[in-house]
């Protein structure tokens, strides 16, 4: 298939790179999940990764944050390769990256407030309680959930938990955010609010994002560039509009 060459038409002009992924390989047993995957993400760019269920999207972003170790290949974040970083260096790099887990990963033994405070307390030792409170409330207001601050996760609905997880991901205003399905399980109204939040963060804090999504409305609104992950490779990339009119059946099926 030649789609790869046809569709790469508009690589953004911006030169500074945020994330460079080179020849990434990852397999579990005999299951080849990533098979020579390459991708460059530029600063302040929102890249959406499309791909069928089980195609390795979550594995890809877990490799980026170092939760999974790729078998081969290189990942360069803000000019620094994450291969062979010491634990402290990796930790330092991670403090600049936000990660939204597909299953939210809310700490269910802690209140919403403690959930949001967790990354704050762990990263910045020097902060007054007032500052922490203010940041928690601000993050919750961004997702319209300020009233849940003293509730336990078990008292909240699935969509609310997703938004709490988003608030926790964004609370440190990281340079890079990796979103694993930010709008799945949300009603359309809330989903559009989340799209807006992602765009606001991008503008206000110059965030670079990789967004995994099946929600075409979300993709349309947030994507500067769309990437299709197929057979462990970056099969095609382009703008949303280019994808929408593409003839390739592998791309078309996402727009039906």
């Amino acid at each position: 298939m030649e789609t790869k060459k046809e569709t790469i038409t508009t690589i953004p002009e911006k030169q500074e790179t945020a994330i460079v992924i080179e020849h990434l390989y990852k397999q579990f047993g005999t299951n080849k999940v990533l098979d020579d995957f390459n991708l460059t993400v530029y600063k302040e760019e929102n890249v959406v990764v499309l791909g069928k269920s089980g195609s390795g999207k979550s594995v890809l972003i877990k490799c980026i944050i170092g939760l999974l170790q790729p078998d081969k290949g290189n990942i360069i974040i803000s000019g620094k390769s994450i291969n062979g970083l010491s634990h402290n260096e990796l930790d330092k790099m991670r403090s600049k990256i936000g990660f939204l887990f597909q299953g939210n990963a809310i700490y269910d033994s802690m209140t919403v407030r403690e959930n949001l405070e967790f990354p704050l307390r762990r990263r910045w030792i020097k902060m007054s309680q007032e500052q922490i409170n203010a940041m928690v409330i601000e993050a919750l207001e961004n997702v319209n959930l300020a009233h849940t601050v003293d509730m336990m996760p078990a008292e909240l609905s699935g969509g609310m938990l997703k938004r709490i997880a988003l608030a926790r991901t964004m609370i440190l205003k990281p340079d890079i955010i990796l979103y694993d399905e930010p709008t799945s399980g949300l009603d359309p109204v809330t989903a559009r609010e989340i799209d807006k939040l992602i765009l606001d963060l991008q503008k206000k804090y110059h965030t670079t994002s990789i967004i995994i999504s099946h929600d075409m409305n979300c993709v349309k609104k947030t994507a500067d560039r769309v990437v299709l992950l197929l057979d462990g490779k970056c099969y095609a990339q382009g703008t949303y509009n280019e994808f929408e009119i593409a003839d390739d059946p592998n791309i078309k099926q996402f727009f039906e």
Binding site: K62, F99, Y107
Partner: protein
């Protein structure tokens, strides 16, 4: 060489547990210490187990006395009852019963808690939030169990002796002071100290096995259930093995 599946599985599991324990000694005592979480776990693991351990120890003390009394009367040595019961409780029954009850309550709760945190990616979320989950979750729980069980057992022994006193009094009348002076008169250094030292190992076994089973829990609710279940089974068996070794070692050292 082809070993039967169950034996291979057992050997692998033992090896993994040994590696996990090694990891604990390599990492558990390195800075920074998670003091806040340690205190919280001491409360959860120690204080909250007190009621259950106290109740069972009281009943064991009482029942043991009532069961022994007729036999001792038959042999005309009923006056030796406090001495016998005291020795049995302090050296063997008090520590082992309390440790088994503790294993049932704590190994399962640690296994289930860490297991569900594992499968819902909460442990990964800690990892990317600048926290070493092994130190934060495992090291604190293991240390809390190691420190709390000996304290619980000292109290359990006292309560079991109180139960024994009541048992003696159902049959005849002995004053509390006479009963306890008889008990403590017969006790020697070699009765108390080895019995106390082994309780630290019991506590450690419960903490490490619960954490280990939780940490390697498989995805899904059955995974979490299995983690809790196998944690209790393995911890209980280990308590008996440690008890056996403790007797052998004290005998070897000539403390008998």
């Amino acid at each position: 060489m082809d070993l039967p599946r169950s034996i291979r599985f057992f050997l692998e599991d033992t090896g993994d547990l040994a590696r996990f324990t090694g990891h604990y000694f390599g990492l558990g005592f390195s800075r920074p210490f998670e003091t806040g979480e340690l205190l919280k776990q001491c409360y959860n693991i120690g204080y909250k187990s007190f009621g259950l351990v106290a109740l069972t120890s009281f009943i064991i003390g009482l029942v043991l006395t009532m069961q022994l009394h007729p036999t001792l009367v038959e042999y005309g040595v009923a006056s030796q009852l406090p001495v016998m019961v005291g020795l049995a409780i302090i050296r063997e029954i008090g520590p082992v019963i309390a440790a088994l009850i503790f294993a049932g309550k704590i190994a399962s709760s640690i296994g289930a808690e860490l297991g569900s945190m594992k499968v819902t990616e909460q442990i990964d979320a800690m990892e990317v939030s600048g926290t070493n989950p092994f130190k934060y979750l495992v090291a604190t729980r293991v240390l809390a169990a190691t420190l709390m069980l000996p304290i619980l057992i000292v109290m359990a022994d006292a309560i079991a002796l109180l139960g024994a006193y009541i048992g003696v009094n159902i049959q005849g009348t002995t004053s509390l002071t006479l009963f306890f002076s008889q008990v403590f008169h017969s006790l020697e250094f070699s009765d108390v100290v080895p019995a106390f030292i082994k309780t630290f190992f019991f506590g450690f076994a419960v903490g490490i096995v619960g954490s280990y089973k939780g940490y390697k829990a498989a995805k899904g609710t059955t995974g979490v259930g299995n983690a809790a279940n196998s944690a209790v089974v393995l911890a209980s068996v280990l308590i008996f093995i440690i008890d056996l070794l403790a007797v052998q070692i004290t005998n070897l050292l000539g403390f008998n």
